[in-house]
Every structure is written in C-alpha cells, then in structure tokens.
C-alpha cells in the first residue's frame, strides 16, 4: 500500500540526501577495497586508491640494458630500450640519481660523464650512447617521472580463482553453510514458538537463560567441545571431524540469537489470529507450521541472512570442527592460506574479500523480499 501519496515535501529531498550520505559513508570503505583489489600490489602501497581512478604522475625507476646489450653504431656504442615496458604513459622528466630524479626534461640528454649521454623520450624510449664500449654488467639506473593512465588488472582475481582446490572449498563451504543455516532456524523457530505462545513452568527462566547464553565467548567452548567430540567419536569409531559435527556446532552457537530474535517477533503476532486457529481445531504443531511460520517470514529471513553470513565467513569453527585438511577446507580457509605465512599479500586479501562476498549478498537479495510490509494487514481490527 502506497499509503500517503501526498507526502512529497522538502523532507523527501532531505531523506534522499541523508540516505545518500549514509550509503556513501558505508560504501566508501568497501569501494576503496574494491578498487584496491583491481590494482597491483606495488601501486597499492604507494598511492591512495582514489588516485587510481585518474591518471597520475608517478616516479618510476628503471634500469637500462647492460654491456651485453650494446651495439655499435657509427663508432658510438649504443644501448636502446624502453623504460616503461609495456605500460602506457608519458614521461615528463628523468634523472640518473635517486637524489635528483627529475633532473632532466623528457627528450633532453643527460651527461653521464666520460662522454656518455642518456636520452629518454616522452614515450619512455631511452638511448644510451658512449664513445667507448660499456663494461658494467649492471645497467644504468634511470629515474623517470611519468604520467600514467589509470591501470587496472584482474590478476588478483585470476590468482584467487585459479588457486588449486578453490572449487572444492566452495562446495565445502556450501555444504557447511546451508544446513548450518536451516537447521538452527528450524530448531530455534520451534523453541521460539514454545517460548512465546505456549504455557509451561519455567518459561521466563528459559528466556533469561537464552539471553544469558548469547554472551558465551565462542573460544571458551572450543576445547571442551572438541574433547566431547573426540570422546563420542572414539565410542562410535567414527571420525571426530564431520559435517554433522560442524552443523551441530553452528546450530549450537547460533541458537541463542535465533531464539531471541524469533521469539521477540513471534510474541508480537496478533493474539486473535492464533486463537482463531485454535478454535478451528489446529494443534500447536499445525498452528506453528500453518500460521506462525508463514507470518514470521520477515524474522526468519533476517535471521537466515545473519546465520548464513556468520557461517560462511567463519573460519575458526570450521577449522576446529571440520579440520584444515585439504579435502575439507572451507573457502575462507582456502583463501587465508593463499596469504603467506606472514600475512602480506593484501592484493589477494582484497580480491578474495570480494569473491567471498558474492554468495552472502545473493542470499541477502533473495531473502530481502521476505522482509515485506503489511504481512499482517487485514487480519484483525482494533489497536
């Protein structure tokens, strides 16, 4: 229902602007990450990502060819080449010492002593001339200041996507995440219904307990739980690290928030509708499945989004309960392993952050339409 057609006021404009500002603030960091993921590593560390969008003046270093590359032309020894390599750009100045990297204009000849000269053209082509043969095996260092157009690369993504076993990790992640999202929702929804609408002794206490358990730090639980798993596994002669195990773990860890959110929502449903179903002869089970569940879609969808996110992005629980072995490694684990032992490789990080974000965003988009307005409209009258 487009309720109020006539609310077009200056306030609408303010609303648009405020949201725009919020969105800008909230996306700016991510945008930075995204642009960074398209740049190469060295640029990442020397210039801000926002400069990546415009052509920029950069100080580059190159090295000319060395003695083996020289040719003799009309009695002078010449080494030629291009300092910019394959990249496009326009050289504005160059120099031969690091202290004076802009000593010469492009096209000018720099005197290297001993009659040798160096000329660097605007396109980066250099020509090194000397009346005597070059001897050094090291080429001459040249510093150039070049105007470079924005340069982007998909290499980071290529590297992440091509890395070995990534497909399998993707499937592993899904295998973990889908049941680990659905199972807790199911279980929590039943529990939330019981806590919201069924009468039994100890209800208030249980609600309190749920709130209290929200706070239990995950790290505390890992060791006792894994011990338990190992014990159980030993008794039954099965491996301790299984999918069932991790589903249950995620179910357990997600349970308090799920119950808490769902109960709150369900308690707000109109009482008369439930009573009506009760009079219609529906049992609690039927009321739950036929009335409560459909009416709780917004809450279920919101929680599903969060649980999925949490499971999808989780690494700790996955490694502890599923293991870090190749065949069971989840996507986050795989990507983290791409980063070296000392955690450099930001370019990989940025790209993989965007690769992992795709699935949760898809989930968000699919579930967002369940966050609908007016689900309860028309059910009861009165305030």
């Amino acid at each position: 229902m487009e309720a109020t057609p006539a609310t077009k006021s200056p306030l609408t404009l303010v609303t648009h602007l405020t949201v725009l500002l919020l969105v800008a603030l909230w996306t700016l960091p991510t945008a930075g990450l995204f642009i960074s993921s398209l740049r190469d590593k060295d640029q990442l560390a020397v210039s801000g990502w926002w400069t990546a969008l415009s052509s920029s003046s950069q100080s580059l270093q190159g090295r000319t060819g060395a003695a083996p590359d020289q040719k003799e032309e009309n009695g002078v020894y010449v080494i030629t080449g291009n300092l910019l390599g394959d990249t496009a750009g326009r050289v504005s100045a160059f120099g031969t010492t690091s202290r004076e990297p802009e000593a010469y204009e492009a096209g000018a000849a720099a005197d290297l002593g001993d009659g040798a000269t160096l000329t660097v053209g605007e396109d980066g082509a250099y020509r090194l001339e000397s009346p005597v043969p070059f001897e050094s095996k090291r080429g001459q260092r040249v510093f150039v200041t070049a105007e470079q157009p924005p340069r982007f690369t998909l290499d980071n993504y290529r590297e992440v996507l091509r890395s070995e076993g990534i497909g399998r990790s993707f499937v592993n992640s899904l295998t973990v995440a889908v049941p680990a999202t659905i199972i807790p929702i199911l279980i929590a929804a039943f529990a939330a219904y019981a806590l919201a609408w069924m009468e039994f002794p100890g209800r208030a206490l249980l609600i309190a307990a749920v709130v209290g358990l929200l706070v239990v730090p995950l790290q505390m639980s890992l060791i006792p739980l894994l011990r338990l798993y190992n014990g159980v596994a030993e008794v039954f002669g099965v491996p301790a690290k299984t999918y069932l195990g991790i589903w249950l773990a995620h179910t357990g860890f997600g349970m308090p928030l799920a119950i808490y959110l769902l109960r709150n929502y369900m308690a707000g449903l109109p009482r008369e509708v439930l009573e009506s179903a009760r009079v219609d002869g529906a049992s609690d089970f039927e009321i739950f499945t036929k009335i409560i569940l459909p009416l709780s879609f917004p809450a279920l969808a919101s929680f599903a989004i969060f649980q999925f996110l949490w499971v999808w992005n989780d690494l700790l629980v996955a490694i502890v309960f599923l293991g870090a072995q190749d065949e069971s490694l989840v996507l986050t684990g795989r990507l983290v392993n791409l980063l070296g032992s000392r955690g450099g490789n930001w370019e990989i990080l940025t790209a993989s952050a965007f690769i992992t974000i795709v699935v949760p965003l898809l989930v968000f988009f699919t579930l967002q339409r369940y966050l609908v307005r007016g689900l309860l409209a028309g059910s009861v009258k009165g305030g």
Binding site: D42, V46, T97, L226, R227, N230, V320, A324, G343
Partner: protein, 431 residues
Amino acid sequence: QDLMFKPGEDARFNWQSYDDFAASHKLDGQTLTIFGPWRGDDQTLVEHMLAYFVAATGADVRYSSSENYEQQIVIDTEAGSPPDIAILPQPGLIADLARKGRLIPLGDGPRDFIENNYAAGASWVKLGTYEGPDASDAFYAFPYKADLKSLVWYSPDNFDEAGYEVPETMEDLKALTEQIVADGGTPWCIGLGSGGATGWPATDWVEDLMLREQPEDVYQQWTTNEIPFNDPRVVAAIEDFGWFAKNDDFVAGGVQAVGATDFRESPAGLFSSPPKCYLHHQASFIPTFFPQGVEAGLDFDFFYFPPYASKPELGKPVLGAGTFAMITRDTPAARAFIEWLETPIAHEVWMAQSGFLTPYKAANPEAYANDLLRAEGQILTEATTFGFDGSDLMPGAIGAGAFWTGMVDFVGGASAEDAATKIQNAWQAIK
C-alpha cells in the same frame, strides 16, 4: 605430486641419502598428518619437500596450516586430536606444550644428531630441550629451517651514488646514520606494525643489540628472566634501539610513523625515488615483501648487522629463529619423519627453492637457490654465537604480548625504564 628435481639428476643434491632413506623406510598405507606454520607460497615450498618423503616411503602425508595455527594447535592438543607432527616456530609455545605433556620426547638419537651435525649444535640442542610434565628435561623439538635476523638491507646503487660504504662495526653504522642525516637523507625505515602482532620487529632490534652489548649468558638469563627485564643492561639495549628509532631525523616519517607503519611496507622506502631511507633492519624473509621486479644483488643487498668494535670479546653474534618439528602423536610415520629431517636431501630440496636456511653442515651450500641465500647461510654457519629470537624464548604472555606492547609504548614515548618495568611486572604476574 611431482618431484621438483628428478632424483639422481642434479649433482648439488645428496641423492644417496634419499635412496638410503627410501630403502630403509616403508610406510605404505600409513598416514602422516603434519601441522605447520607455512601457508600460501611457503606451503607450496614445504609440500615440494614433503613430496620426496612421500615418494621415499609411500606414506600418505597431509599437511595443513591455519591462520591461527598457534591457537589451533593448542585446541587440537588439548582436545585430544593432535596431528602426528607439529611444526612450530615459538619455543615458548613448545615449552608450554611440553610441560602439559602434549609432546613426545624424541630420544637421544635425534639429539645427538643435532649436537654433532648442526653448526652451533649445542645451542640448537638447548633450544630443543624442554621441561616435560614430570619436571625433567628431554629433547622434544627437532630444529628444521632457520631464519637469520641480524641483517641490514640496503640498495647498493643508492650507496654508490652517495658514496657510502658498508659499515663493519656498530660505531661505523651509527656514524653512517648521522652521515646520511647530514647529507639531507633519512637513514632508517622502521615499521613495527603487524596487526595483532604489532611491535615484534622492535623486539628483534633489542635482541640484536643485546647480543652486541652483553655476553651470551646474560642474553640467556634475560630470556628466562633470571635477570629482570628492567635490569640496567636490558634497559641500555632498549635505549640503544631508541637511539635509532626515537629520533625524528633518523627514521622515515618520523617517530610517529614507526609504530604505525606496517613492517611489510616499511622496506618499500629503500626503493623509492628519492629514497625515503637507506637502511632497513629485518630478517631474511623480508625480500618477499619488496616491490615486484627488484632483483637481489642488483637492486638490493644486505650486510651483517655489525658488532661494536669496542666489545671485541663478544665476537660475531647472530640473532636468528627457526622452526621445530615435534611429535605430537607417536606413530612409526612420525618417527620416520624425524629421521627424514636428518637426511641432507630434506634440507637441500628446500634450499634450492627459496627462503630456507639451515645450520645442517652436511647440506650442500651449493644447493642454495641464489647467492643471497648462500651468503646468509654463510653468516649462519660462521656465527660465533647464535642467539635465538629472545621473544620467542620468553613465555607467550611476554614474548608475544608484554614485550611487543612495551616496545610500542617505548616508541610511543614511554621511557625505556618504564617500558621495561611494565614488562617485568607482567612477567612477575605470570610466575
């Protein structure tokens, strides 16, 4: 997995040791799980080495690592589901595991092997020996792969241009530092940032200086807190570090930048034009973080972080670190793996790739992939004193906690005395 170098084909490798090992170890159908600190590119390197073990024995080897491997190993051992072999770089952590009885003693064989075949073997044995749950010492940790920390990186071109010489003594180094400032440059790039581990590069500085100011036993006493952290000798070393780091003219970006710059990024200053700095103190792994395209030996080089000429009695001390392999579950395959690490080939295969140094004397230095590594290897084998990274020797709460924080505080403005006292208090609290 394919073997990187065909057995028998390259003379740099000791194929004999490979064949012998293969002949005496048959582990078909057995599984060996290894949990180590190497991820990313490093993981590829170690897996190349493991491929030979697999080829030799027929065992099914599963290597895994994790971002939070320190946490992971604690959880796994505590929960009773450890790997067969754990490889860890922190003696402090190893000590804890040993005390809790999570490690299996390796026995005399490996210990004697280290003693006899490693350069500075005695100190390596000491590093592998820990107190077990019954309060008696045993050899638990087999050192494999070493890192060298006493290195200063520089750009030969920049040195040439400015006419600087590689300093041979600490006095020279300090003079060079002042010289560079006088020439209008900035001598040092120092970055302590490392996310959660921010501060550790400073500990290397302090340890290196400690080894250059005090005899080895004082260094040992310091790492075990037999002398307090705020002992004047320690404070002096910290202040010496402060001489370099807490001078706005000496460090690129000023003192404020020291704490805030990521250690991975700070060496980039060596390669900018004009150079932001001329010198960078860091361990042997750092070239991984140099900009793409820079070439070892050509665009950058290193020199040994020199000793004080005024203290000749201390010789040429070297600060280093290393990883240790431990048996966390006693299986034949695990035992065999330790034996495998005693073969030269297990070292040479990795030496021939990158980033690997070994004090194993029988390993052929020719196998090093490049001159740089070989030179580092040489420093390692020529060292008169080998000091293991002190912060790794200290208990985790200090070496991977209070010490880091203390250094950050120190660089942030606290006095050396205060910072040291704070660390000492923390140490007191965990006793």
